[in-house]
Amino acid sequence: MNTSDQKTPGESGLYNRIAVLRAERGISRQQLADAMGVNYQTIGFLERGEYSPSLKLALSLGEYFGLPVEAIFSKQPLQPLSQQVYGKQPTQASAQEETTS
């Protein structure tokens, strides 16, 4: 499973962190889909940036993860969470790991 932040915006033109947040909390797509009341395929489409969610779904995701919507979706490429939280640049090893994942 790809748990890194999304590298390309996909068809929707949005970057998102759903896969990272999902992996961090140890939940499957099906579990997240059940909580959101959508098909599990829709979670896959969201993670790959192939679908722009409605405002209602975006807010529901924010509520579920306990984060503001802008921490999950962005029009700009998202920074790695570690960098955003601690203000650190990714090390060579972590950058390499993210490139391969």
């Binding site: 499973m1 939940i27 499957s28 579990q31 009341g37 098909n39 395929q41 829709t42």
Partner: protein
């Protein structure tokens, strides 16, 4: 939408390649066959509608419904219904789909926002294609009326028949052709490591 565990002759409809084969077989095999059959019956009846022609046309619509289904109509492949699993062909045509395992709620049986968006978009595309096709066929019909009245008498009903088939199955065709490969339903649940 298309269920990831739907199969057709043992091939999973989750794969786009299988769905495209189905569409190709439908438009490349079944539709020409039905058109030829309809035309032959009509021709035998010397350019007039007979009971045989009418029966054939109804049977053709029945077959089309079986193969590509529809929004409300049945069929093996139900691209516009959520989580539909049909047990037999009769159920697929007339009965309401029932979940095969467990009890699904009304919310789970309904399509979600992406699926509804997709369905609406596909119907818009199908309408755009059908609109142009209707204009083309109407022009053809008028031109034949001017210059080849005998040919018009023979092919007029066929044009109408082809238009009917197209309008009934175009949205389903488009969704089956364009929807990407689906991911398997049973994704393993990630278990968090316990910290000691």
């Amino acid at each position: 939408m298309i269920s990831a565990d739907s199969t057709l002759f043992g091939h999973s409809l989750a794969r786009r390649r299988t769905r495209r084969w189905l569409v190709a077989a439908f438009w490349g095999g079944l539709v020409p066959l039905l058109c030829v059959g309809f035309h032959e019956l009509f021709f035998i009846a010397r350019g007039t509608f007979s009971l045989n022609t009418l029966n054939f046309a109804l049977l053709a619509i029945f077959w089309i419904t079986i193969w590509l289904g529809g929004v409300r109509a049945g069929g093996w492949v139900k691209p516009f219904r959520a989580q539909t699993k049909v047990r037999n062909i009769l159920q697929s045509l007339f009965a309401k789909p029932q979940p095969t395992q467990g009890e699904l709620t009304a919310q789970e049986l309904a399509m979600d926002e992406r699926e509804i968006n997709r369905r609406d978009h596909i119907h818009f595309v199908a309408y755009s294609i059908a609109r142009n096709m209707t204009l083309f066929l109407f022009t053809l019909y008028c031109m034949l009326g001017f210059w080849k009245q005998e040919l018009l008498r023979q092919t007029g009903p066929l044009i109408f028949f082809l238009l009917t088939i197209t309008l009934w199955s175009l949205p389903q065709t488009l969704i089956l052709w364009t929807e990407p490969d689906l991911e398997p339903e049973a994704e393993p649940v990630i278990v968090k490591e316990k910290r000691t």
